[in-house]
């Protein structure tokens, strides 16, 4: 009898949780639907030549998990609502900046923007130098590559634009700064006292990173690497979670982008190799194997310098991208079957995967951080007397 209020509150919590996810799924479905309308309008014009309307799921999904020069909120065509992000290009004639509004949402290379005497077009989310003359209404040249895929052969300026992903990174950085500086202030204000409010939500996670990630892997040297490990952990986690939010300012696929994971893995690699002690380098250049194995082992060990961070990069990228693809695919089932009857099942599974993704968001941040700590720990480990 005693436990009843607890059970009820738990039930309410569960209901609220599920309701949130249903909403989540519904909004996502709307988003997809809205996009789909635009997509189908676009496809219609193309498919007039083919004579039948076809929903290109691959293109649709890759468009969603890819980067963009605009931040789309909702609506299509005249009702399009979103944020035009600035375009910053390093061209043959130096730095060029203009708003992505200039392209008028054109994404097939048919709208030319002239700046500083240079002509640019946007195709599949990327900016190219435009051709002199249009070809089928498009100012880019196509070529089939070895695999028979269409690739655009036009030259590209170096693109330093604030894209959707960059915007999201900035947003998450700002969010992290606000969260953790306010938490730090709480610590200053309540010196020596028990944590309170938001601080008590964050503290166990910080202690988790310290006691379960840093200390077991780094030993007594953990303190030096705590700032990096904490930053990486929270950066990945918050970006993973923002990626799961289907509307502005979330929705960008930051940690599912290879550039982000490459940068993070790069930092870990730099930390590993800059902190590697004589045992670490000794293991690479003089591995403890019979002499005749050394010519084989040394290159293998040297590859491991790259392969470890490479694995970190691919793991995070693949996990997050896979999750996004899964959720989008499940929702696309509605449009593939072209029937509203599929929607309940589709949304049910999308919610289910969404819940799993919430877990994956944490787990991947944890794995990236613990492996970084492990690799750094292996590089700074002192070997007493044993030459291993």
């Amino acid at each position: 009898m005693k436990y009843r209020p607890f059970l009820i509150s738990k039930k309410y919590f569960l209901t609220a949780f599920l309701a949130f996810f249903c909403l989540f799924g519904a909004v996502m479905a709307q988003d997809v639907h809205a996009s789909h309308e635009g997509e189908s309008a676009h496809i219609e014009s193309v498919s007039k030549e083919h004579g039948e309307e076809k929903f290109n799921i691959t293109e649709f999904i890759f468009h969603h998990i890819g980067d963009s020069h605009v931040f789309h909120f909702w609506g299509e065509g005249e009702h399009w609502k979103g944020l035009y992000l600035p375009i910053i290009l390093y061209t043959h004639n130096g730095l060029v900046t203009f708003s992505s509004k200039a392209f008028e949402l054109n994404d097939d290379g048919s709208k030319v923007v002239e700046v500083k005497g240079m002509r640019f077009v946007q195709a599949h989310g990327k900016i190219y130098y435009a051709n002199e003359e249009a070809e089928h209404g498009s100012y880019v040249s196509h070529e089939k590559n070895k695999k028979g895929k269409d690739v655009i052969t036009n030259e590209r300026p170096l693109d330093f634009s604030i894209t959707k992903n960059v915007f999201s990174v900035f947003f998450s950085v700002a969010l992290l700064l606000v969260i953790f500086i306010s938490v730090a202030n709480a610590y200053k204000k309540r010196e020596g006292k028990a944590p309170k409010g938001f601080q008590s939500l964050i503290e166990p996670i910080i202690l988790f990173v310290r006691d379960d990630i840093a200390r077991p892997n780094l030993g007594y040297k953990y303190e030096r690497f705590m700032p990096y490990l904490l930053t990486v952990f929270f950066f990945i986690w918050i970006n993973n979670m923002l990626g799961l939010v289907p509307f502005f300012p979330g929705g960008a696929n930051v940690t599912g982008n290879i550039a982000t994971t490459l940068v993070l893995a790069m930092f870990t690699m730099i930390l590993i190799n800059f902190n590697g002690n004589k045992y670490y380098w000794g293991h690479i250049f003089n591995p403890p194997v019979p002499w005749w194995l050394k010519p084989l082992m040394i290159p293998v060990e040297m590859i491991s310098i790259i392969s470890r961070p490479f694995a970190l990069m691919i793991r995070l990228f693949a996990n997050i991208t896979a999750g996004h693809i899964l959720v989008l695919s499940l929702l696309c089932l509605i449009f593939i079957f072209n029937s509203l009857a599929v929607a309940p099942a589709s949304i049910f599974f999308a919610v289910f995967i969404g819940a799993i993704e919430l877990l994956v968001a944490f787990i991947q941040a944890f794995i990236f951080t613990i492996l970084s700590a492990l690799f750094i720990g292996m590089a700074v480990e002192e070997h007493a007397a044993d030459h291993h």
Partner: protein
Amino acid sequence: MDLLTPEIGLLFWNTISFLILLFLLGKFAWKPVMKAIGERERSIEDALDAAEKAKAEMSRLTSENEQLLKKAREERDLILKEAKQIKDQMLKDAKDLAQKEGARLIENAKLEINNQKAIAISEVKDQVSTLSIAIARKILESELSDQVKQEVLVDKLLKEVKLN
């Protein structure tokens, strides 16, 4: 594939953002937070240590107190015992003394009585002799008043002397 080729712009902005984040959080968040957590943990540990010490001190004091109490009790018992002994001794001594004194007093009394008795006897003897002399004189006076009787007496006395 598009998905696997990192864009230069993203690499650039990600690096910059992450470095800024690392620097700012490291300086303004992690440093004070880790310091505060560390200090708090240390203070908790210290407090626990102090509590443990206080507990040990307390138990030490308690045992000391108990020992003191025990000692005091023992001492008390000893003192009581001694006092009792002294009391007994004193009683005995007093008794002895009283007995002795009594005996001495009795002795003295006896002596005094004897003395007095002797004095009294000698006084009585004096009185007796005085009386005897007076009687004798009276008898002599009466005896000597008659010539015949005087002569008889002298004869008798002379006879007695002869007998002696």
